[in-house]
C-alpha cells in the first residue's frame, strides 16, 4: 500500500480484568474517507475509540498518525495530535453559555485572559455550519437534547481536526437533524477529513460510509468497501447469524377494548391531545425532536402532568400528578435515557427489577415473601433472557440490551396495563433489539397496550400498529400500519397540518 493513512491503529489489544476487550485489532482511516465501525455493544468499538481518544492506554499495539508513531495518554494529547471525538454521552456544562461549551478546554485567550467576543463569533460560525439556530451566548441548560447534541458536534468541529470520530452522533437527533448532519459529514469528507463513524443505524451507515469495519467480541471480522458490504452481511457479521423476522409478526385479530384514553390533554408543552390505546395495540408516536413527543410520554406517566383534559384507564377517569400515581393506575414507563432516568447503577440486577414492586408494596410488606422474593424475580429475569453471571451483580455492569430487558421485567412484574416506551432500543445492539421487539409484541398480544415514542423511523413503522405524528405540541395526524417514512415525515414537518399556525404561537 502506497498511501499512508491519516490514522493507522495496528495490533491494538486491551484487557480488563477477566475480559479481553480488544484482541489485536487493526484499523485505519484515510484522509477524505468515512470509515464506519459496526458492532454490537461489547464488541469493542467504544474501547477502541477511548484508546484513540487518550482515555485508555492499550496493552499492546501502536497508533500512527500520518505514519508517525504516537503515544496518547490523556485526551489533551489526542486533541493536540488532531483527533477530535464526538462522544455519545453529552459532556456539556449546563450553566455555561453555548460558546463557553464549544470552547471548553480550548478557550481563546491572550495572556490567560478570555476573548469572549471572538469566541462568540466563532461559535456562531460553527453552529451555522452544523445547521443549528442557536444563540452562542445562551445557556446550555435551556436547550433541548437535540440542540445540545448539535453543540457537541460544533465543539468537535472547532478543533479543525484531521481525524474526526463520531460515536452515535445521531442518537438524540430526529430525522431532519440527522439528515443535516449527514450532509455535513459529506462536506467534511470533501475537505479531506478522515472520519470514523460509529452507528447502529444501518441506513445512515449505508448513506455515508466509504468503508465498513465490523467488530465482534473484541476482534475485527472484516473491513470492506461499502458496495461490498450489504446490510444483511453486516448484520450477520455483527451477530454471527442471520436475523430474520427482525420485527415480530402482527396478530391477525383486531385490537380490543380501550385501555387508555386521553381527551383534550394539555400542559405547557402540549395542546389538545386526544387519542386512545386499545388492548393488544402498539401505538407509535413520531415527530421531530421539538414536536413534544417526549413531553407526551412524560405527561402520560405523570412526570410532567397534564394540566387540562381527561385521562381514563380502563374507562375510569384517573388523575395522574406523579409517576407514582401513574404506576398505581397501571401505566409503566421505560425512559429513553436509561442511565439517567431508569437505572440505579450501583444496585443489583435483581434490585432494579424489583424496584417498582417494592415501591408500590405496603411499607410493611416482607421483602422475602411471594412476588417480592428474589426467587420470583429471578425466574422472570430468566424468562426475559437477561444475561448476567449473577442477578446479584450490579446492573451497571450489564450491556444496554440486558439493562433494558431488566427494566421491562420491572414493569412486567408490576403487571402494568400500559407501558410507555421512549426510544426503546437507543444504543442497543441488533440482537437485543429483536428480543425487545418480541417482548413488546408479546406484551401487547397478552391483551395490554403500549405507547412507543421513537426517533428511529424504521423501528416505529416496523413495530407500531398505528402511528401518531406530533408537531408543535399537537397530534398532527394518525397513520395506519404500513405507512411510509415519507408520510410520517410530511406530518412531522407540519405540511399536512390543516390548522393555522398562529393558534399555537
Amino acid at each position: 500500500m502506497t498511501i499512508i493513512p491519516a490514522l493507522h491503529m495496528a495490533g491494538i489489544s486491551k484487557t480488563f480484568p477477566g475480559v479481553r476487550a480488544l484482541d489485536c485489532v487493526d484499523f485505519d482511516c484515510r484522509t477524505g474517507e468515512v470509515h464506519a465501525i459496526c458492532g454490537e455493544n461489547g464488541a469493542g468499538k467504544s474501547t477502541l475509540m477511548k484508546i484513540l481518544g487518550g482515555s485508555y492506554r492499550p496493552d499492546a499495539g501502536e497508533i500512527r498518525l500520518n505514519g508517525r508513531l504516537v503515544h496518547l495518554t490523556h485526551p489533551r494529547q489526542a486533541a493536540d495530535a488532531g483527533i477530535s471525538i464526538i462522544h455519545q454521552e453529552l459532556s456539556l456544562l449546563p450553566y455555561r453559555t453555548v460558546a463557553e461549551n464549544i470552547f471548553m478546554g480550548r478557550e481563546l485567550a491572550r495572556f490567560g485572559l478570555l476573548d469572549r467576543r471572538q469566541m462568540n463569533k466563532r461559535a456562531a460560525e460553527l453552529l451555522r455550519r452544523v445547521g443549528a439556530d442557536i444563540d452562542p451566548e445562551g445557556q446550555v441548560s435551556t436547550l433541548s437534547i437535540a440542540m445540545q447534541q448539535l453543540v457537541e458536534i460544533a465543539k468537535a468541529l472547532l478543533l479543525d481536526a484531521g481525524i474526526l470520530v463520531m460515536d452515535e452522533p445521531t442518537a438524540a437527533l430526529d430525522e431532519r437533524d440527522a439528515q443535516n448532519l449527514l450532509s455535513l459529514i459529506r462536506g467534511l469528507r470533501e475537505e479531506g477529513v478522515a472520519i470514523v463513524y460509529i452507528s447502529h443505524r444501518m441506513p445512515e451507515v449505508m448513506a455515508v460510509a466509504d468503508r465498513v469495519t465490523v467488530l465482534k467480541d473484541g476482534q475485527k471480522i472484516w473491513t470492506r468497501a461499502r458496495h461490498a458490504a450489504p446490510v444483511p452481511e453486516i448484520i450477520r457479521a455483527m451477530v454471527g447469524r442471520d436475523l430474520k423476522d427482525f420485527y415480530p409478526k402482527r396478530p391477525s385479530s383486531g385490537p380490543g377494548k380501550v385501555l387508555l384514553s386521553v381527551e383534550g390533554g394539555a400542559n405547557a408543552a402540549l395542546r389538545d391531545i386526544s387519542f386512545d390505546v386499545r388492548a393488544g395495540e402498539i401505538v407509535g408516536v413520531a415527530g421531530l425532536e421539538d414536536s413534544g413527543k417526549a413531553h407526551l410520554a412524560q405527561a402520560l406517566v405523570g412526570d410532567e402532568p397534564l394540566s387540562a383534559g381527561v385521562m381514563r384507564v380502563n374507562g375510569k377517569p384517573v388523575s395522574i400528578r406523579s409517576p407514582r400515581q401513574a404506576t398505581a393506575a397501571g401505566i409503566g414507563y421505560l425512559p429513553g435515557d436509561r442511565k439517567r432516568d431508569a437505572l440505579a447503577l450501583r444496585q443489583s440486577v435483581r434490585d432494579n427489577a424489583l424496584l417498582t414492586l417494592r415501591s408500590m408494596a405496603g411499607f410493611f410488606a416482607r421483602p422475602q415473601r411471594a412476588a417480592l422474593s428474589p426467587a420470583a424475580i429471578d425466574s422472570e429475569l430468566r424468562d426475559m433472557d437477561v444475561r448476567a453471571a449473577d442477578f446479584g451483580q450490579e446492573i451497571g455492569t450489564l450491556s444496554g440490551g440486558n439493562q433494558q430487558k431488566a427494566i421491562i421485567v420491572r414493569w412486567l412484574a408490576q403487571a402494568s396495563d400500559v407501558l410507555v416506551f421512549v426510544e426503546p432500543t437507543r444504543g442497543i445492539d441488533i440482537a437485543a433489539k429483536a428480543a425487545i421487539y418480541q417482548t413488546m409484541r408479546a406484551f401487547a398480544d397478552a391483551g395490554r397496550g403500549i405507547v412507543v415514542v421513537s426517533s428511529d423511523m424504521p423501528e416505529l413503522i416496523g413495530i407500531a400498529d398505528r402511528i401518531l405524528v406530533m408537531h408543535q405540541g399537537r397530534i398532527a395526524g394518525e397513520l395506519p400500519r404500513g405507512a411510509s417514512e415519507e408520510e410520517v415525515m410530511r406530518l412531522s414537518l407540519g405540511i399536512a397540518q390543516q390548522e393555522p399556525r398562529e393558534a399555537f404561537a
Partner: protein, 329 residues
C-alpha cells in the same frame, strides 16, 4: 457531588429578567441593616464609621468564603479551613514574637503552610479519589489535633506594625476591608475573565466532559484546593493581626468551615459545582454580617439569635433552591 445530567429546566427560569441572586441578597441584607438601625434609633451605625464597622465584620468570613467558592465551584468542598486558620494565626504569632523584621518571613512561612495543606487536600481529592468531605474533615482534624497538642498555652504576638493590617486604614477605610475588596475583585476577575476561571467552571460543571475536552481536571481540583487554603491563610493572617496573637481555637470558635460553606451556598453557588460566583458569596457574607450587627442593635439574646440564624440559613437557600426541578440530597 456532581452529575452529568443536564437539567432541562423550563427556559423561563434561566432567562429570568431581573437582578441576579447576588444583587438581590446584597440589597436585602443592607436594607435590613438600615431599617433596624433606624428603628432602634442607632442612626450612628449608618455613619461612615458604622458602615466601616459592618464591612469589617465581613473580612474574615469573606476571605475564607471566597476560597471556599473556588473549591465548591470545582465540585469539591473544604472542611479543613477552620483548623488551617487557627494554624496560620498561631504560626504567625509564633514566628513574629513581636519582631517587625519577622513580618515578611512569617507571612511567607504561613502561606507556605497553606500551600502544603492545599496540596495535600487537593491530592487526596483529585488523585486519591477520596470524598472531599472526608478528606478535608480528616486533614482538618489532623491539623487541629497537632495544634492543640503542641500549642495548648501559646505565648507570642504578632508585630505591632503587622496589626496595621487590621487596625490601620486610609481615607477612613481599613486596609483589611480594602484587602477583602481587592482579593474579591481579583477572584471575580479570575473566575470570569481568565482561561483558568473558565476551566474551573468546566471541571465543576461536568468533570467527565472537561476531561474529554482535554482539560487536566485533577490539576484544577488541586489548584482550587490550594486557592482555598491560601484564602484561609489570608483570613488567618488577618485574624492574627486583629487579635494580636493566635490561639489554636480561633478557627473552630468562629465556625469558619460550616459558615463559609453556608454563605457560599446562600450566594447561589451550587454544591455540585459549575455554577455560582464570588459576588453571590460576598452577598451571603454581607447577610451574615448585617444579621450580626442588627441582632446586636435589637438586643436579641444569644440563644434566640442562633435559632434565627438557623432559620435564615435554610430560608435563604430555599428561596433559590425551591425552583430546582431535580432532586437534591
Amino acid at each position: 457531588m456532581s452529575s452529568n445530567a443536564i437539567s432541562m429546566e423550563p427556559a423561563s427560569f434561566n432567562h429570568r429578567k431581573g437582578l441576579p441572586i447576588a444583587a438581590v441578597l446584597a440589597i436585602l441584607s443592607a436594607g435590613f441593616f438600615v431599617v433596624i438601625a433606624l428603628a432602634t434609633g442607632e442612626s450612628a451605625q449608618l455613619s461612615l464609621q458604622g458602615i466601616v464597622g459592618l464591612l469589617q465584620r465581613m473580612v474574615a468570613l469573606g476571605l475564607v468564603a471566597i476560597g471556599q467558592t473556588f473549591v465548591i465551584l470545582v465540585g469539591s468542598i473544604d472542611l479543613s479551613v477552620a483548623a488551617l486558620i487557627s494554624a496560620v494565626a498561631v504560626l504567625a504569632s509564633l514566628l513574629m514574637q513581636g519582631d517587625p523584621a519577622m513580618i515578611l518571613p512569617a507571612i511567607i512561612a504561613c502561606l507556605g503552610l497553606c500551600l502544603a495543606v492545599g496540596l495535600v487536600n487537593g491530592a487526596l481529592v483529585a488523585y486519591g479519589g477520596i470524598n472531599p468531605l472526608i478528606a478535608t474533615l480528616g486533614t482538618g482534624l489532623i491539623i487541629q489535633g497537632v495544634l492543640a497538642a503542641s500549642f495548648a498555652d501559646l505565648q507570642g504576638a504578632v508585630a505591632r506594625q503587622f496589626q496595621v493590617l487590621a487596625y490601620g486604614g486610609m481615607l477612613g477605610i481599613p486596609y483589611s476591608v480594602l484587602l477583602l475588596a481587592l482579593l474579591a475583585l481579583a477572584a471575580a476577575f479570575i473566575l470570569n475573565k481568565t482561561l483558568f476561571g473558565a476551566r474551573i467552571y468546566a471541571v465543576g460543571g461536568n468533570p467527565d466532559g472537561a476531561r474529554l475536552a482535554g482539560i487536566h481536571t485533577e490539576r484544577l481540583v488541586l489548584a482550587a484546593h490550594v486557592i482555598a487554603s491560601l484564602f484561609a491563610g489570608a483570613a488567618g493572617l488577618y485574624l492574627a493581626a486583629r487579635l494580636q496573637s493566635g490561639t489554636p481555637w480561633i478557627g473552630r470558635d468562629g465556625i469558619y468551615d460550616l459558615e463559609s460553606i453556608a454563605v457560599t451556598v446562600i450566594g447561589g453557588t451550587i454544591l455540585a459545582g459549575g455554577k455560582g460566583g464570588v459576588a453571590g458569596t460576598l452577598a451571603g457574607v454581607l447577610l451574615f454580617a448585617s444579621l450580626d450587627a442588627s441582632f446586636n442593635m435589637l438586643g436579641i439574646d444569644a440563644f434566640l439569635k442562633q435559632v434565627l440564624r438557623g432559620g435564615i440559613v435554610i430560608a435563604a437557600v430555599a428561596i433559590h433552591a425551591v425552583r430546582y426541578k431535580g432532586h437534591v440530597a
